[in-house]
């Protein structure tokens, strides 16, 4: 028995070796190095010079673009995240009814998420085309004048948000799984009490799916704050830097200007921001997430 325990531990070590090594090599070591590099000036070629807090000071004091990058990223994320979650939940609720053709609808709503993001982005540039795009010609039917979409400094972020609503498929599927886990007896009980549909949603459905909501919320915050491809391909951050999202700015600093130190400082700032935000979400979750049996 003792030796069997030993063999089990031996094999466990063998089996987790890749994952643990990977954790150290691609996570822990890079995180620490990135912190160290953020205190240096390092341009890939040549020596790295220790500059203390200079990179951080530059971002907060001298860099006139950085406040704008933060503003634009927050604007995009603060609107996109709740809209995506609400939209996904809305579709999931509709699909959770006993409807015919559930499989077809589910496929349709999931389909955009399957489209490779690069292809989707190119397609949306074309959809947003002010003169010949699908969206403006559709709006024209209702007599709405041409909108500049991604080419207008006021409309570029709303355009990216609209596009982000297109691939809510995975969120919707996760919500649907959560909704299907709500015991029907709860609704029956609510019916006996004569609860309205709104009250049923607010007092039964919503509390029961808060664990799912928490999961989706955290995932969506993290991915949305790190949106890169869409502005990189669609707008190059323009017009007038109105779509210069954080990761695009970081990418440019690192791989166009080769300011590895400065870019690492930017990386650490968003890392801290996301960590703090997740911490706050999890800490406050005990006030709004309902776990059955607790």
């Amino acid at each position: 028995m003792y030796s069997q325990k030993k063999t089990e531990i031996f094999w466990a070590i063998v089996f987790i070796l890749p994952a643990v090594l990977g954790f150290l090599l691609w996570n822990i070591i890079p995180i620490i190095s990135s912190a160290v590099i953020s205190f240096t000036e390092y341009r890939l070629i040549g020596p790295s010079i220790w500059v203390g807090w200079d990179n951080y000071r530059f971002l907060f004091v001298e860099d006139f673009l950085f406040p704008k990058v933060i503003k634009v990223t927050l604007y995009y994320s603060l609107v996109s995240v709740p809209l995506k979650l609400m939209f996904a939940l809305f579709i999931a609720i509709l699909l959770n009814k006993k409807i015919k053709g559930l499989a077809i609808f589910r496929t349709i709503f999931y389909l955009p998420a399957i489209v490779p993001l690069i292809a989707a982005t190119i397609l949306w540039i074309w959809l947003f085309n002010p003169d010949f795009g699908l969206i403006n010609s559709f709006l024209q039917i209702f007599g709405i004048a041409k909108i500049q979409w991604i080419y207008g400094s006021k409309t570029v972020i709303p355009s990216l948000i609209l596009m982000s609503l297109w691939d809510v498929g995975p969120l919707m599927i996760i919500f649907l799984a959560g909704l299907q886990g709500v015991p029907r007896t709860l609704y029956e009980a609510a019916d006996i009490d004569g609860a309205s549909n709104f009250r049923k949603f607010y007092h039964v459905t919503l509390p029961m799916i808060t664990p799912t909501l928490l999961f989706n919320l955290v995932i969506t915050i993290i991915t949305t704050l790190q949106t890169f491809l869409q502005p990189y391909v669609m707008t190059e951050g323009g017009p007038n830097n109105e779509s210069l999202l954080y990761l695009l700015y970081l990418y440019r600093t690192a791989f166009k200007d080769y300011e590895m130190g400065l870019a690492s400082a930017q990386a650490w700032l968003i890392f801290i921001f996301i960590a703090l935000l997740s911490y706050i979400v999890f800490k406050t979750s005990k006030y709004w997430v309902y776990y059955e049996g607790k």
């Binding site: 995180i31 399957i114 919500f175």
Partner: protein
């Protein structure tokens, strides 16, 4: 009164709710129309595409855009390059994740759940923070402009897939392992002969997700590959967009070529997509 209540019952489960269908169908249009527009544009010539108001059905249908795309960009080469990365990356992902998932679900060893929890935290780690040092490591090794930086990390397990497989492995009866252990089988033999054959659906799900991740990967190839001839489909397509920025018929044909294989895969393996995604939201 009773009748009334029953009617009042559940907008939540009602079978024939016209209102629901109307909303669902209009939202479906929002989802589908862009894709119809994509395909429709790929079958038009330059003249048709810039007609206002736009037409939905190409007249005449032209297939010329597709051969032209292959002439304009080395699409076949990008296709081969993509698979050169994708195949070893997916194999590595599946092997390393199976190993990890097995150790975390069926072997007993000290600190197991603690180690798992620590690895799980990386799910929330923003990729931004590891991007630069990882690049610098590969640059130091002189492997930028090769496929190694895009393949090797995939052999070190991805905790998301380990989690998915672990969830699945946990559903296999423990007695099977115990019986095999009594017969003298090693954990490796148990994994290979018992667990894996029973886990085919989960393995396929992970392989599909991993393959799609490679097919769609943009930032990786963008950072590590600088030579045209090394490009993958994703960055090749982006570069093509820069060069042919107003030839929407060609761009749509090229995009369609990148989309179609994925859609075909989706329709053959839809169950795996939906179940895999749904599983993500459940706690272990």
């Amino acid at each position: 009164m009773k009748e009334n209540k029953k009617n009042h019952t559940s907008i939540f489960f009602q079978t024939n709710n016209k209102f629901t269908y109307i909303i669902l169908i209009s939202l479906s249009f929002f989802m589908i129309m862009p894709l119809v527009w994509l395909v429709r544009s790929s079958f038009m010539d330059m003249k048709q595409i810039f007609v206002f108001p736009p037409v939905w059905i190409p007249d005449p249908f032209t297939f010329d855009n597709y051969p032209e795309v292959f002439e304009a960009v080395p699409f076949l080469r990008y296709f081969v390059n993509t698979f050169t990365i994708l195949i070893p990356a997916v194999i590595g992902t599946v092997i390393s994740c199976c190993m990890g998932a097995y150790a975390f679900s069926r072997l007993r060893w000290p600190y197991r759940n603690f180690v798992f929890a620590v690895l799980m935290t990386t799910l929330m780690l923003p990729y931004a923070v590891t991007l630069i040092p990882t690049f610098l490591i590969w640059a130091k090794l002189g492997l930028v402009n090769s496929y190694w930086p895009l393949i090797i990390p995939k052999w070190f397990g991805a905790i998301f897939y380990i989690f998915l497989l672990r969830q699945f492995f946990l559903t296999i009866p423990k007695e099977l392992d115990e019986a095999a252990t009594i017969d003298g089988a090693t954990p490796l033999q148990i994994l290979w002969h018992i667990i894996l054959p029973l886990s085919k659906p989960a393995l396929i799900t992970v392989a599909i997700f991993a393959a799609l991740a490679e097919w769609n990967d943009f930032l990786g190839p963008l950072i590590y590959l600088n030579k045209d001839e090394d490009f993958t489909l994703a960055i090749g397509l982006a570069q093509f967009t820069g060069l042919y920025h107003s030839q929407w018929n060609l761009l749509m044909a090229a995009s369609t070529l990148v989309v179609v294989p994925v859609i075909i895969l989706f329709f053959f393996a839809q169950k795996h997509f939906i179940e895999g995604i749904a599983l993500t939201g459940t706690k272990g």
